[in-house]
């Protein structure tokens, strides 16, 4: 009877047991995680926000960029990119470890836990850690005076949505890695870095040549940044575009998860 009840629990909450195990793992790294979560925004704000910002502000005069101080303009983009980076870190390493290095996904799968539950558990745990990063980042931005409006707190959820969209796609892609992990370096240099640079992060996307703008359109970072700017300083944006950004991010998130579920199950039963 006990086993039967336990089994029903697993079919319902299996993913949460994976989350629990992942949190235990992350807990071992708590000081590194917290330190990075604090240092990352502080360094960015000092070097780019204050350093480059003083040049930009001097040049642009009272109008600033998009009508605000450079730091205010930059803040939502930094917040979203921190969420994306956090989500990527926490889906790629556990997935490579689970399938390749320690093969502990196969251990999980020899219990009643299914491939879908493993994928979902790793994903939820990654977003949990990302949320900690985002909250810390947001607070530091608030202290730095980069979040002038009352709706600015909603930018945290937009950043989470960007992390979630990127994270689900990366969860899927990492689950396909069979050979070596040069894959991670390649993704970092060829996809994440260009998207970071060309998503209207440091200047409005519209100030780039039209031919380069599509990079921004397909980038979750740009969509999240546009929504974030609307929320943190009232960046002007149409209702239609709010919908487009939101639907783009949620669709990407759903697509990534669907593909990840399928590939986790397939790879575990190969």
């Amino acid at each position: 009877m006990k086993v039967k009840e336990a089994q029903r629990e697993v079919s319902r909450f299996g993913a949460l047991y994976i989350v629990e195990a992942r949190f235990r793992n992350m807990f071992k790294w708590r000081s590194a995680i917290i330190t990075a979560a604090i240092l990352n925004p502080v360094l960015y704000l000092l070097s780019v926000g204050v350093g480059i910002g003083s040049l930009v502000n001097a040049k642009q005069g009272a109008g600033g960029v998009d009508g605000v101080q450079y730091l205010t303009f930059l803040a939502p983009a930094l917040l979203a990119s921190a969420a994306i980076q956090g989500a990527i870190d926490e889906v790629t390493f556990p997935t490579l470890q689970g399938f390749k290095w320690a093969k502990n996904f196969f251990a999980m799968n020899s219990t009643p836990i299914t491939g879908n539950q493993i994928a979902l558990g790793v994903y939820i745990a990654a977003l949990g850690r990302t949320f900690v990063t985002v909250v810390i980042y947001w607070l530091i931005l608030l202290i730095a005076g980069a979040l002038p409006t009352g709706t600015a707190w909603l930018a945290m959820f937009v950043a989470m949505l960007a992390g979630g969209a990127f994270g689900s796609i990366m969860l899927y892609l990492t689950s396909k890695v069979e050979k070596e992990d040069f894959f991670l370096t390649a993704i970092g240099r060829l996809i994440i870095m260009p998207l970071f640079l060309f998503s209207g992060t440091f200047y409005p996307l519209s100030s780039m040549p039209l031919i380069l703008q599509p990079i921004g359109w397909i980038s979750p970072l740009w969509h999240a940044t546009e929504l974030g700017r609307y929320l943190t300083y009232g960046h002007s944006i149409s209702g239609l575009m709010i919908g487009v950004h939101f639907i783009f991010l949620t669709s990407l998130l759903a697509l990534g998860l669907k593909l990840a579920f399928r590939n986790f199950t397939k790879r575990l039963s190969k």
């Binding site: 029903r8 697993v10 235990r24 071992k28 196969f106 251990a107 219990t111 836990i113 039963s269």
Partner: protein, 307 residues
């Protein structure tokens, strides 16, 4: 007795390669059943199909009366799996590994706390309870993996090559633990390519080669059926061995020539040796031993278990 596992014409193919070729067997409640065969015989493939993590290509398979293809999680809830390669969570401690694994079965903390204590004692890892897994020796990791597989009180404990890669001492400690489980009536299903492991632990076994079953019985019966009681091993030096084979052939029931030695099958090794020496042959070394499953395998396939 009821059968916990039953396979009928069970087959697994990968493209043109037939890993498991239409095999039939049953495992009954409370018995310890072995799959003996060299690497690549299809043992692990069978284990994964039984463990409901690999789909069969054809044939029938029932584990605990259910089809693993349709009831994977339900079946896995009652299995304890010890894979060939340890897949512990190396960054967590010994205790944490047992705990999270128990959680994967949906077991409560209240159930797990005393259970973990019991398993730590069983695996002789009490002193290592708060040590990270990465700091354990190979034998300890193996014992932890077995303890982990027992956390859910499984109906069948499945061990894939449980002692491969361990030194003799660690192997004996592990055998002792497994023997204890056998005495407690746990149903064991294990694969091995060590004949002494199979002889010590298995009540019944199937001898496999290239995806097929070559023979099935208890170790003692297999030896009785397929080989003589004793074996006389002679070495004349690697290039001279073949010279003497024909001469020796008439003297015994059966003869096998290996690259480094000649095996003569007989029911009385000492007498045969005296006779051979009396006839003027002088081997460099000679050894009389009891026949083993290794000899059974050699007889059935013409090859050694470990190559």
């Amino acid at each position: 007795m009821t059968s916990l596992i039953s396979a009928r014409s069970l087959t697994k193919t990968y493209g043109d390669f037939v890993a498991v070729d239409q095999i039939n067997f049953e495992v009954r409640k409370g018995e310890s059943f072995g799959l003996l065969g060299p690497n690549g015989a299809g043992k692990s493939t069978i284990m994964r199909m039984i463990g409901a993590t690999l789909q069969r290509s054809s044939g029938e398979l029932a584990v605990l009366g259910k089809d693993p293809e349709k009831f994977g999680p339900q079946i896995r809830a009652h299995l304890g799996v010890v894979p060939q390669q340890d897949n512990l969570d190396s960054e967590l401690t010994v205790r944490e590994n047992l705990y999270i694994y128990g959680r994967y079965f949906g077991l409560s903390k209240k159930f797990l706390t005393p259970k973990i204590q019991e398993l730590l004692e069983f695996a002789q890892l009490e002193e290592k309870r708060d040590v990270k897994v990465e700091a354990l020796s190979g034998g300890m990791k193996r014992r932890l993996t077995i303890a982990r597989a027992l956390v859910s009180e499984p109906e069948i404990l499945m061990l894939d090559e449980p002692t491969t890669g361990l030194d003799p001492q660690a192997r004996h400690i592990l055998w002792d633990r497994l023997f204890r489980l056998k005495e407690l009536g746990v149903t064991l299903l294990l694969t091995t390519h060590f004949m002494d492991e199979a002889e010590q632990l298995c009540q019944r076994l199937i001898v496999m080669d290239k995806g097929k079953i070559m023979a099935e019985d208890s170790p003692a019966e297999l030896i009785r059926k397929y080989v003589t009681k004793e074996v006389l091993e002679l070495r004349f030096g690697s290039d001279k061995n073949s010279q003497y084979v024909d001469q020796l052939r008439q003297k015994c029931d059966r003869i096998e020539q290996l690259p480094d030695r000649i095996l003569l099958y007989t029911n009385d090794g000492e007498t045969l040796l005296t006779e051979i020496v009396g006839s003027g042959l002088h081997p460099i070394t000679s050894l009389v031993r009891r026949s083993s499953l290794e000899d059974v395998f050699l007889r059935l396939t013409g090859r050694s278990l470990i190559e």
